[in-house]
Structures are given as C-alpha cells and as structure tokens.
C-alpha cells in the first residue's frame, strides 16, 4: 500500500485503535480465564475473599467432576490405603471414590447427538441445497423462506407439541429423538449456507461433465461435492456447535437417558453450593472444543452466523 494513500489511517490512530481493541479483548476474556482458573482451585480457594489470582493448583475439581464419593469412618479409611493420586485427593475430606459420575455419560450423549444430527443435517442439506442452486424449483423463494422461518420459532413454544409427539412415538428422552429434533432445527442453516457455497461453484464444470457422458448424479458427487468440500466442512462445524450448545430442548425433553452436557453441568453444583471447581472443570472440558473450532473457522465465521447473508 502506498504511504501517500489518503485512506490509510495515521500511525497514531492505529496505535490508539490497537490499544482500545486489545483492552476490550482482555476484559472480555476475564470470565473465560476465570472458568479455567477456578477449575484448578480447591473449593476453599474458589470461594475465598478477596478472589485469589495466585493459588496452589489442584486437580480436585476434575476428580470431583468425574467421580462420585462418599464419606467414610476413620477405621475404614485406615484399613483401605489410597490406591492412586485421585484417591489421595479425596482422602483429605475423609472420602473415598465409589464410582464414576454421570458427567462422562452426559458428555458422550452430547457427542452422539451432536455428530448424529450434524451428519443428518449435512446429508439432507447438501441434497436440498444442490437442488435449490441448480434446478428450477417451483415456488423456490417461498420454500427457502419457509425453511428459514422455521428457525424463528422460540424453542420453548415448539417444545410443547414435540414433547407430546415424542411421548406418543416413544421418542422421549432418546438419542434418536434428539438427533431428529436437532436436525429439524439445523437443516435451515445447512440449506441456506450450503446453497451459498454451491452457488459459487461455476456451472460449467458440471456441464462439461454432463457432455462427457456423466449422469446428473455422477456430476453431483464426482464434480460438485469435491468442489464444495470446504463449504460442507464449515457448515458441518456450525451445525455441530449449535447442537453442542443447545439447552432449551435438552432441558425440557431429556432426563435420565439422553440428557446432554449443557443441562447437566449446572446441576453439578450439589449440596451447599460449594463445588464451583467441579462446575468450572466441566465447563472447561465442554467449552474448549468449541473454542478450537471457532479459531479454525474464523474465515467463515461471519457467513455462518448470518445464514450466508453476509459473505465478506
């Protein structure tokens, strides 16, 4: 860029802008850093006043997150020496580990439902988006608007009939039910985003393939799909993040069997409300994958959050 450009901001204004933006970024990170730190505190350190910035890190929160424990008598504790480092940690409260907690199970539910619904949304969404992008479909704009408008419903409003419907079909509190439900919610995003990505692939490629004797199907999966791979991958990540974060349907429609992590993590708090390190540990494990995906996706972020309306 030429140094004579009138539109290039001066060095001084760049400095000020940089300072203010970095200040905002640091402030906005405080709650997230606090989650991370609290996960490594002991319960006493977590609720000390003033809040502790420096402390002895411990894995207590993580041990409490993954295990269930009971208090035991001194005789029992003396007769049974600790087996490993996790045992050592809980011994300081005269407790023993009696088994795994539900967190692992809930986390796996999130994984199964997240990936299941993402796969289904992408599969159906790619087909529909291709058709909308390439063929003359009667009432195309109305259908596309209809697909988008389904996203406008407040989840709690839809939850009432879904609850009744799932009860009648035996889908209440099942993985399959939640996968279908999240697919129903995600598909609007998938169709809109993927249509944008497929629109950008020149038609000439397919036309060349058709002239070479490919059928439409062959042209679709041998020519269009490889070209759309990046778009499909980023759409998949957006669907996955949505399903991963979803709370309203999960808390209203699942309980013992198919409950995902977001409704579960707040219930870790337990009796007396002292176990914030375990909550923070659960939150850390749950949030880090999304952060990694966000950083990987940063180029397509804007497109994903605006349903493809703004492309940059």
């Amino acid at each position: 860029m030429s140094s004579f450009s009138v539109t290039e901001p001066s060095n001084r204004s760049k400095w000020i802008a940089g300072f203010l933006v970095i200040a905002y970024a640091l402030i906005t990170m405080i709650p997230l850093v606090w989650i991370l730190l609290t996960g490594f505190k002991s319960p006493a350190d977590a609720i000390s006043y003033p809040p502790k910035m420096v402390f002895d890190p411990t894995l207590e929160g993580y041990v409490n997150l993954f295990t269930t424990r009971t208090r035991q008598t001194q005789e029992f504790l003396e007769a049974n020496p600790p087996q490993n480092w996790a045992d050592e940690i809980v011994r300081q409260y005269d407790m023993v580990i009696v088994g795994p907690s539900k967190f692992g199970e809930r986390f796996m539910n999130s994984v199964i439902i997240g990936f299941g619904s993402t796969f289904l949304s992408i599969f159906l969404g790619t087909l529909a988006a291709y058709a909308f992008s390439r063929f003359k479909v009667p009432l195309k704009d109305d259908l596309l608007f209809f697909i988008l408008s389904t996203r406008m419903m407040p989840p709690v409003a839809v939850a009432i009939p879904i609850f009744l419907m799932f009860r009648n079909l035996g889908l209440s509190d099942t993985h399959l039910g939640m996968i279908l439900l999240y697919t129903g919610v995600n598909i609007s995003l998938a169709v809109w985003l993927l249509k944008g990505f497929i629109d950008e692939i020149p038609r000439e490629y397919e036309e060349a393939a058709l002239i070479d004797g490919y059928t439409r199907f062959q042209a679709f999966y041998k020519v269009v799909l490889p070209q759309a791979a990046t778009g499909i991958a980023s759409t998949a990540i957006f669907c996955l993040i949505f399903a991963w974060n979803e709370y309203a349907f999960a808390v209203l429609l699942t309980s013992a069997n198919a409950q995902t992590a977001p409704p579960f993590i707040p219930t870790i708090i337990g009796i007396g409300g002292l176990d914030w390190p375990a909550v923070a540990a659960g939150a850390t494990i749950f949030l880090i994958p999304v952060m990694i995906f966000t950083i990987l996706m940063r180029k397509h972020l804007l497109r994903g959050i605006t349903f493809g309306a703004v492309r940059k």
């Binding site: 901001p9 940089g18 990170m29 006043y49 087909l127 009744l164 966000t294 972020l301 309306a309």
Partner: protein
C-alpha cells in the same frame, strides 16, 4: 434434421429407455433431493405448530392424560391478553431487547471501526473477541452466576475495587433493580462480537475510492464519517439488529441459568414464562395459546428481517 448415426439412434430409442440411460430427469432429481428436507421440516416444525393451534383452544393438561379435554374457544387468548402479568413479562422482554441491542450496537460498531484501522495483529484480537459468542449460553450463564456472587464473586470484587462500595452490599441477581441489568450485561458480553463482525464486513465493503473522492472535495473526516461511513454500514447494522432482535426475543437459556426469571418476576422474559406455564404448571392449552401469540410476534419480525436481508443483498 441431421443424419448422423447418433441422432438416428437417439430418435429410435423409446423415451422410457432413454430416460434410464440418461438417468432421471432434472425435475425428478430436484424433488428427490428436496423432499426429505421438506418432510422433516413438516414433521418437526409445521405439524407441531398445527397441533399447538389446536391445543390452544382447549383446556388440555399434558400431565393428566385421563382428564376430559374441553373446547374453550378463545378463552385462553382472552385470559393471556387481559392478564397484567403478561404485560409485565412483555415489558421485561422489551427492556432486555432494547438495552442489549443498544449496547451491542454501540460497542460493536465502535470496535469494528477501531479494528478497521488495520493495526498490526488485528486479526488475532478479532478472533479472541469473538470467542464468547460461540460458547454455550447455558454453561457460560451458569458460571456468570458465580461471578455475580455478592461476597466471593469476581464481578462484585472488580466493581467494588473501582467504586469503593462494599462487594457484599449489592446483589446483581438478587435485587429487583439490578437483576434486569445483570442479564443485559451478560448478553452484551456474549453478543457484542456478533454485531462487531457484521459491522466490520460493512466497513470493509466500502471502496477506498469513495473516501479518496471525498478527500479531493475537501470533506472533513467528521463529514466523511456521517455521509459515507454511517450510510454505507447502515444496512449491515440493521441486519445485525434484526438478528439480535429475533434471537433475544426467543431468549431462554442464558437468563434461565442466571436468574430463572427472578427475583419475583422482574427478569421473567416471555420464553421463561411460557416454560413455567407449560412444563411446571402443565397448563398445556393456555401455554399453547401463549406460544401462538409469541410466534405471530416473531413472524412479524421475521418478515421485516427478510425484506432487509434482500435489500442488503441487492447492494
């Protein structure tokens, strides 16, 4: 008509066989590709909607299956619209909507404008700022409850450090005057990056030559800002506002975790009220009518949104 072998073979082939050879017609493929999606949306969205409309005219209670279901006409709707609590919830929602959008637009636009100065490393810091928006509102909201604790919470500690007030002298989530602001703060923290990203796209879409022309015409920087920057970014900003408007009208997870609608019902947004009616009091018929009223409101917002979206796209 040409007389090549290929053409003669093509004409001699019956239509049915020809179709088999070339694969399905485009029209057939289009419908095969689209119908599963439409079917799923009908099953998960439209069928439930019709069911809700039906239920909204009854006194059905989902936890008492054996009870006789009576048709009550428009009584549910009448009771909702004449209930003063409904209007309190609407007011709480309006307060939440107005102030979250106000702060998010103000901070979001300012940040975008600053980032657009293209200082060194702006990409990295933009990515960091964006993080809160992608996280689970329920999990993060639950943790903010900890930050808001009167004695031990970090938020109260920082505020008291700056203001000199005792950190246990105010309860962000427990006080009737502060709780509505507590949820505004968390939502603003979470969603300002959304407005920022859209504004940034708007700012970057303005070609340099417009500013260069203004410079030649000796327009002041301030004048350029108000006659070029603001009007060019406005459509993007509107889009951001409508997105946030619809999303926050549906707001449930974050606020349920933070306050659960309390204290009293000062933060009881419409979605939270609906959840209470439907899944705690089990007044399914009444809640269905409430859901329909909300849906009509959101749909109104949605149609405005699509019009604005088309406007932005035309540019």
């Amino acid at each position: 008509m040409s007389d090549r072998t290929v053409d003669r073979v093509a004409q001699a082939t019956p239509v049915r066989v020809a179709r088999k050879i070339r694969g399905l017609s485009d029209r057939a493929i289009a419908w095969i590709f689209i119908s599963p999606t439409i079917f799923l949306l009908l099953a998960i969205n439209i069928f439930p909607l019709i069911w809700t409309i039906k239920l909204s005219f009854t006194n059905y209670k989902a936890n008492r299956i054996a009870r006789e279901v009576k048709d009550v006409g428009f009584r549910n709707y009448e009771r909702i619209l004449t209930d003063s609590d409904t209007w309190l919830n609407m007011q709480a929602t309006a307060h939440f909507l107005f102030w979250t959008i106000f702060f998010q637009v103000l901070i979001g636009f300012t940040l975008a404008w600053l980032i657009n100065k293209k200082f060194k490393g702006n990409d990295l810091w933009t990515t960091i700022i964006v993080l809160p928006m992608m996280l689970s509102p329920a999990v993060v909201g639950n943790f903010w409850k900890f930050l808001y604790q009167p004695q031990i919470g970090l938020f109260n500690y920082i505020v008291s450090w700056f203001s000199g007030k005792d950190p246990s002298s105010f309860e962000m989530l427990g006080s009737v005057t502060l709780a509505p602001w507590a949820i505004v703060i968390v939502d603003t923290w979470m969603w300002t990056p959304f407005v920022m990203l859209i504004c940034l796209a708007g700012l970057r879409s303005i070609p340099d030559y417009i500013y260069e022309a203004a410079e030649i015409d000796r327009a002041s920087k301030l004048r350029q800002f108000f006659t070029i920057t603001i009007p060019m970014v406005l459509p993007f900003l509107m889009l951001a506002v409508l997105f946030r408007g619809i999303e926050n009208f549906k707001m449930f997870d974050l606020v349920v975790q933070l306050t659960g609608g309390g204290p009293g019902s000062v933060t009881e947004l419409t979605s939270i009220n609906l959840k209470r009616e439907a899944f705690e009091k089990w007044r399914t018929g009444y809640a269905s009518a409430y859901a329909i009223i909300l849906f009509v409101t959101v749909f109104g917002l949605a149609s405005i949104y699509v019009k604005a979206l088309n406007k932005v796209k035309q540019r």
